[in-house]
């Protein structure tokens, strides 16, 4: 089968496309092409040899679904795509809305529902966690700078100011909050999330839900090194039943359908785990999962094919990933092809 994957931007703020493809490439059962769908001609995944068989440029989500669908239809005529795996947050709403139309031209998807995507919204995640006894830092959503004045009443500085899709800043006072608010709103629009700051180590889980409440697999990791952008640059698989059970609970209660990442922080004083965020797609470190024995991207492909998929019951503890900066050298011809023709 031919599988298309988005998000080949393996940059210092990486998308998960490259590791998803890498996970699929290791599976002998998958014959057919892997097609990379890219937004920018400089997405590193285009230039990685033996990764995508073919790459195509697609329109940014902000340019409208009709354009996106038309472009995909065109690519589909050439490549006969069987399955698309979108991997970026900002794409998901669009693909969820397009899934029926895509099915109409023979392309499967395996996506969360609209409601599941919305669960990261403040009251929903907050209420959901409260109802299910999961600890979560306090959150407010703000849509104007004035509302930042509410912060001291709510929980006091420092706070974390987050964009609706990406990026976060720690703000120690109103001025810093205001400056972060401006940067984020300019870039990602509204609303902006203001979150109570919890100090401690970061833990993450990559998981896959089957859409009926079952967790197909889940691998927990502690970040060993975090970049100044807050991205995990290395991490190690760990055996921590606490956060795994929270992940199972989230998948069970939401009937999560698709891959996901759960971000936790362990309060350095109380040693309690707080659920910071649910990301509705695989993380950029998802390749650690197959390396530790759970090929979750491949399991997602099987779920999309409506094959029965057994649950993974364990994974190897102590597997480490270390991300690496590596300069790919190529000729300007490839850049030209992707720029001018939109494909390579």
């Amino acid at each position: 089968m031919n599988i298309a994957v988005t998000g080949l931007n393996a940059t210092d703020n990486p998308g998960p496309g490259v590791p998803v493809i890498r996970s699929l490439k290791e599976v002998k059962e998958i014959s057919g092409n892997i097609i990379g769908l890219v937004y920018d001609p400089l997405e590193p995944g285009i230039y990685l040899e033996n990764l995508a068989d073919k790459c195509y440029q697609i329109p940014y989500p902000s340019s409208g679904l009709e354009n996106l669908f038309n472009r995909i239809s065109l690519i589909n005529e050439i490549e006969k795509i069987d399955l698309i795996i979108p991997t970026l947050d900002s794409e998901l709403y669009g693909f969820v809305k397009l899934q029926d139309k895509l099915r109409g031209i023979g392309i499967k998807t395996f996506l969360p529902t609209f409601e599941q995507l919305n669960i990261r919204g403040k009251d929903k995640l907050f209420d959901f966690c409260k109802e299910n006894g999961i600890k979560v830092p306090k959150n407010i959503l703000v849509a104007s700078a004035q509302e930042l004045y509410k912060i001291p009443d709510q929980f006091g500085y420092p706070v974390v100011i987050k964009g609706i899709f990406y990026e976060a800043y720690i703000a120690n006072n109103f001025d810093e909050a205001h400056s972060a608010f401006n940067k984020l709103s300019y870039k990602w629009g509204f609303p902006i999330i203001v979150q109570e700051f919890v100090k401690g180590d970061e833990f993450n889980v990559v998981a896959l839900g089957d859409g009926k409440g079952k967790t197909i697999g889940a691998v927990a990791m502690r970040k060993l090194y975090i970049t100044d952008k807050g991205k995990g640059w290395s991490g190690v698989t760990i055996d921590e039943p606490n956060i795994l059970s929270v992940s199972h609970k989230v998948i069970e209660k939401t009937k999560w359908r698709s891959g996901m990442e759960l971000e936790f922080i362990k309060d350095s004083i109380t040693n309690e785990y707080y659920l910071l965020e649910i990301n509705p797609r695989f993380p950029a470190w998802v390749y650690l999962a197959p390396s530790a024995g759970q090929n979750l991207p491949y399991a997602l492909v099987k779920l999309a094919n409506e094959e029965s998929v057994p649950q993974f019951d364990s994974y190897e503890i102590g597997k480490i990933f270390v991300r690496c900066s590596w300069d790919l050298i190529t000729d300007i011809k490839i850049f030209e092809r992707i720029t001018v023709k939109g494909e390579n």
Binding site: I332, F335, E336, R337, T339, V340, K341
Partner: protein, 84 residues
Amino acid sequence: MADITIPKNLAVSDSGFLFLTSTGETFTLNEIGHFIFKQFQQNDSFETVKNKIAQEYEVDLNSLEKDLDDFIAQLKAYNLIETK
């Protein structure tokens, strides 16, 4: 006699992809832009280029002149041509 010259450090491929070797900047030309550029490279004058386009394409001379002026202004702004 050419009234427009194109610097030597420029590479244009058949697809209309333009690479300024001195600065590393890259550009894309549409079909007509590419056509015009090739004529300038052959040292055709502004008038000659204009007439060639008018022969090949469905366009009136006034609009063409406006578009050419605008195009040349852009090329100049990007340091891709020199005019006398």
